[in-house]
């Protein structure tokens, strides 16, 4: 690791102010990506601003049909939260298959979506549920927030404060775990909103990061059942291919995981 200056911010405002004063600062959430990358000397921020102790970034709220998860909430707390389990159990499930216990005790929802790893789990949930990303400056729809591999709508120094999910009628997430990293080799989140809209998002599959899957959405709109997806064809074009999965395999996984997610959603 290169030398860096560590700051522990006690409020979002303080974090933003610290960021403004440093030349090449990075915000530290759970550190599940940033710290390994720094250790490998692939990142060398002048300053690291730790958001982990900011109280206003912690917690879960259920208000009417909106579930709000504060950005600094760790996966374990999301997984075990009663409101999450009641309102959107698919999110509790997603969190339970995310990484391993060590990751779940450190990693945060805000850190995950800010990093926007193309194989991360949470981006699929946000996109499929039509969530809104709240920052210290504005609200951003999930569609607009994720902008390709490791790229988001966040501006320099902008901090995610929370994610708001409209509570769906039905939702499910199924994932084929990457055998080494435990990221999603492919994961699919399916949701049916209370107004009957169907939204399906796949992560880990596309070369452009998390994506909607219109063909499956159309099939499920017509008939919300796993068998409705039987006749859907997913093209391997534009899908990731690596030592753990060919593009054709990932195309298959999009379909299979979607079917299982629908089955899980009920």
């Amino acid at each position: 690791m290169y030398q860096t200056k560590y700051h522990r911010a006690s409020s979002v405002d303080e974090a933003v102010s610290l960021f403004g004063k440093s030349s090449e600062a990075k915000f530290l959430a759970g550190g599940q990506t940033l710290l390994p990358v720094m250790k490998q000397r692939l990142a060398s921020p002048s300053d690291v601003i730790d958001l982990g102790k900011i109280k206003e970034l912690q917690g879960v709220e259920l208000s009417g049909d909106t579930l709000t998860i504060k950005a600094g909430t760790i996966y374990y707390d999301i997984m075990t939260n009663a409101d999450v389990k009641k309102a959107i159990p698919a999110i509790a499930h997603l969190t339970s298959v995310l990484g391993d216990p060590a990751v779940r005790y450190r990693g945060t929802i805000g850190g995950s979506i800010a990093n926007n790893d193309p194989a991360a789990d949470f981006p699929a949930a946000l996109l499929a549920l039509g969530a809104t990303v709240k920052t210290n400056k504005r609200s951003i729809a999930a569609e607009d927030f994720f902008q390709g591999l490791f790229s988001t709508a966040l501006e320099d120094g902008e901090i995610i404060t929370a994610v708001s999910f409209p509570v769906p009628a039905k939702a499910g997430y199924e994932k084929m775990r990457h055998p080494a990293s435990r990221f999603a080799l492919t994961g699919v989140f399916v949701a049916q909103t209370k107004s009957g809209e169907v939204r399906v998002a796949a992560t880990g599959a596309s070369q452009s990061g998390v994506m909607r899957v219109p063909a499956i959405e159309a099939a499920l709109k017509a008939n919300w059942s796993p068998s409705a997806i039987d006749s859907v064809t997913i093209s391997a074009n534009g899908l990731l291919a690596d030592i753990h999965g060919t593009a054709e395999y990932r195309a298959n996984l999009i379909k299979v995981m979607a079917q299982r997610a629908v089955a899980a959603a009920g």
């Binding site: 391993d100 084929m176 055998p179 080494a180 080799l185 030592i243 753990h244 395999y249």
Partner: protein, 780 residues
């Protein structure tokens, strides 16, 4: 004898320090004035080193020195050696290129060191390393073994034309051809044994200290065999004569073979400590472990098995290409020859075998012994062949094996090995019963109704452990003897120290070796301590690998114990005014049999050291040593059966049951044996399903971190159902065969046989990743 004797499930003594963070590993050791080394490694698989400019680095804070490959060669530090000479079929010796500890001219794999920075801290060394400019001229590279033997392939070493190290044969080609000419059926199989990265939990490390006044070196290092390290460093690398070099392997966090070898980093640390006049520490990180710890396996094999009309095996032909990587590591040459081809008879009566092994250089990390070393490759090949044969001949795979089992012992195979004992039917029976083999078809049908593909796979392995005797291995080209030494010191107060040449890096010797003493003397194991891993304390030792510590190392302790007990009995008899022949040892006392006369061990020990009243002519003291050279290998064997389900939608494998019935001879501590089997099985399953060290066509490693290299985790493997069938090894007095590698040797074939049974297709390479299984299911 007693609750802590042989056969008792004694809790491991050493675990208190390990699980409370009190283990003392090389990196925990700090010395006054210690400096830190960081190696500058080649990013290219094959390149000329045109120049190294360290001028900027030398001006950086805390930098003590930047040393290069040219300097280590100029200082006449020896090239790394390969300690087992193999002769090709044309009678020529194996052809090897030079391997300097740091490359002065040419790098041949990604990660090979070209220079080292010595600095006041690890981070400063790393900072400075980034300022060293190495000018490389890239050369074409080759990573794949079959590509490397093609004409026109990039050539690694001028000494080895065609990248060929040797072309070695074993067995009777004429007899084998004759068997095939008469065969009723011939079964053919192409098999790749995937390359693995060992990944011990503790990365390799070295701390070297040169004492200029005494001209003496001390090396703390992560070694499975510190005495062998000292011998090689002295005799071949010109570091220092043996009496001027102390090698200490303190707590070592796993080895699996990868810490047998003497690596460039240890040599450089020693050499550099003299150059800079200060202690030098190097602790590898995980990336360095992936790049530079000797890899395992990497065979490509074509095999054919001949059967007569009664489904009896009549012959076996094998041709294997073994990828050695860029250099010949310390025991690499023996792995695909004497540790592999000599086990090709498996558990079966095979009248004629002929095997040819072609060793090949490629621009990859050197390959050497890794848990099982050659025997997993042999067992996997034979057990895949037997499964393939059963499918082709349409007979039950268990029955085909049974009808070809060796049942008479001793049995001389056509490939050197003479199996001393075994009962292969017993382990097959035990495993079949444990898994309810007869009930499998019903379970398969039930799974099918639920959309799952269920399969069962049998693997009947045999291995050769405790490599021996020294005379025999010497005649086959080994550069060392393979005995073991031990010393028993009874202190004047009756506590006991056992000094052993075996080395524990996870095996639990501090417990099991004490159990032998408890067994013989009836003393609690708390009165016994085990000393190992220090060349200044232990007279000599060959170390721990090849499942040899119990069969060879513990027998050496037994021999020393017998000598000590004989003397102690004389002292006791003298004190009790009885005949030596009437003295028995029970519960820590020397008793006159049939009487209530007794003297406790501490009093015997005290008498030995006070020497006030010893038998006439007896030397004082109570300390004996022994060297033990076995008469033969030992032959652990057993049957593993795996039942699993494949999800046709994803190709993912889920275990239903995994049973292991092993014959390890006598067990010292069944709990520790189970732990060894569990670990071995996980490594075997890891090879079958997950692990693969991959290079791209240009020799760039693709799997140099745990983000890409899939190590098995607890939830990847099932709970194991273990049992033992026992035939005592006649080759050593304790009847021990060894248990350290069996799991890794037998498991992978059981898994692949089960998956291929489930999906109804026979050809499937390891690792059987979900993607690969899914593609195999859906292949035309």
């Amino acid at each position: 004898m007693g609750v802590e004797g042989i056969g008792a499930r004694v809790v491991r003594k050493e675990d208190k320090r390990f699980i409370t963070g009190k283990g003392r590993y090389v990196d925990d050791i700090k010395m006054v004035g210690m400096t830190h080394a960081h190696f500058i490694r080649s990013p290219h698989a094959h390149a000329k080193v045109k120049g190294i400019d360290s001028s900027a680095a030398l001006k950086m804070p805390g930098v003590v020195a930047v040393l290069t490959g040219r300097e280590i060669v100029d200082d006449k530090v020896g090239n790394l050696i390969c300690g087992w000479a193999i002769t090709s079929k044309d009678g020529s010796p194996m052809k090897m290129g030079a391997w300097p500890a740091m490359a002065p001219e040419t790098v041949r794999f990604v990660g090979q060191a070209v220079a080292v920075v010595i600095a006041e801290s690890k981070n400063l060394a790393r900072d400075a390393a980034e300022a060293v400019v190495v000018n490389y001229e890239e050369l074409p590279a080759v990573a794949d073994v079959q590509a490397a033997i093609k004409s026109g392939a990039p050539q690694l070493h001028p000494e080895a034309p065609g990248n060929q190290v040797y072309d070695w044969v074993i067995g009777d080609e004429g007899a084998t051809d004759a068997a095939f000419a008469k065969a009723a059926n011939v079964v053919k199989l192409d098999v790749t044994n995937n390359r693995l990265a060992p990944n011990a939990m503790e990365p390799r490390a070295a701390l070297a200290d040169y004492d200029a006044a005494e001209e003496h070196f001390t090396l703390y290092t992560t070694s499975q065999n510190p005495h062998v390290a000292r011998l090689v460093l002295s005799a071949f690398y010109n570091i220092a004569p043996e009496h001027k070099l102390r090698v200490i392997a303190p707590d070592v966090g796993g080895g699996f073979g990868s810490k047998i070898f003497i690596y460039p980093e240890e040599m450089v640390a020693l050499w550099a400590s003299k150059k800079v006049g200060r202690p030098v520490k190097w602790t590898g990180d995980r990336t360095e472990a992936f790049l530079t710890d000797a890899h395992g396996r990497d065979h490509v094999t074509h095999a054919e098995m001949a059967f007569d009309a009664n489904n009896k095996i009549t012959g076996l032909k094998v041709k294997t290409y073994a990828n050695f990587g860029a250099y010949m590591s310390l025991f690499s040459s023996s792995v695909p020859t004497y540790l592999y081809a000599t086990l090709l008879s498996g558990q079966y009566n095979i009248p004629a075998i002929h095997a040819e092994v072609i060793g090949v250089y490629t621009n990859t990390t050197p390959v050497d012994a890794y848990r099982g070393a050659g025997r997993p490759e042999a067992s996997y090949l034979i057990e895949r062949l037997m499964e393939t044969a059963a499918r082709q001949l349409k007979v039950d795979p268990a029955q085909l094996r049974r009808s070809n089992f060796i049942t008479q012992f001793p049995h001389q195979t056509p490939v050197i090995m003479a199996y001393d004992t075994g009962d292969f039917n017993a382990s097959l029976d035990a495993a079949m019963k444990a898994i309810d083999y007869a009930g499998f078809p019903a379970r398969k049908a039930q799974a099918k109704a639920q959309g799952k593909l269920r399969g069962i796979g049998v693997s009947c392995y045999i291995e050769a452990c405790g490599i021996a005797p020294s005379k025999a291995v010497g005649s086959l080209g080994a550069g060392v003897g393979l005995w073991e030494s031990a010393e028993v010191r009874v202190n004047p107060v009756g506590t006991i120290e056992i000094l052993t040449g075996s080395h524990s890096h996870g095996q639990g010797h501090e417990t099991t070796f004490c159990q032998l003493v408890a067994e013989r003397l009836g003393v609690p194991i708390s009165q016994v301590s085990i000393v190992h891993g220090d060349t200044d304390k232990v007279q000599f030792g060959m170390g721990t690998y090849g499942s040899r510590s119990a069969a060879v190392g513990l027998t050496a302790i037994l021999k020393a114990m017998e000598k000590m007990e004989s003397k102690a009995k004389k002292i006791a008899a003298h004190a009790l005014e009885a005949s030596e022949a009437d003295i028995v040892i029970e519960n820590g006392e020397f008793k006159v049999t049939g009487t209530d006369k007794a003297i406790a061990l501490p009093m015997v020990a005290l008498a030995a050291y006070t020497a006030h009243n010893l038998p006439d002519g007896m030397e004082p003291g109570l300390k004996e040593s022994a060297f033990y050279d076995p008469t033969n290998f030992t032959f652990p064997a057993g049957t593993y059966i795996c039942e699993l389900e494949v999800d046709p939608g994803t190709g993912k494998t889920s275990f239903v049951n995994f049973v292991a019935a092993d014959d390890f001879g006598r067990l010292i501590n069944p709990m520790i044996v189970e732990g060894q089997v569990h670990g071995g099985l996980v490594q075997g399953i890891g090879q079958a399903l997950l692990e693969h060290a991959i290079y791209d066509a240009n020799g760039q490693p693709v799997t140099a971190s745990f983000m890409d290299y899939a190590m098995p985790r607890a939830d990847d493997v099932p709970s194991f159902n273990l049992s033992h069938t026992t035939t005592l090894c006649p080759g050593n007095p304790l009847g021990i065969k060894g248990c350290g590698e069996a799991g890794a040797i037998g498991a992978s074939a059981a898994v692949i046989n089960a998956i291929t049974d489930a999906i109804g297709k026979n050809n499937l390479e390891m690792p059987a990743t979900p993607d690969r299984v899914w593609r195999t299911i859906h292949a035309a």
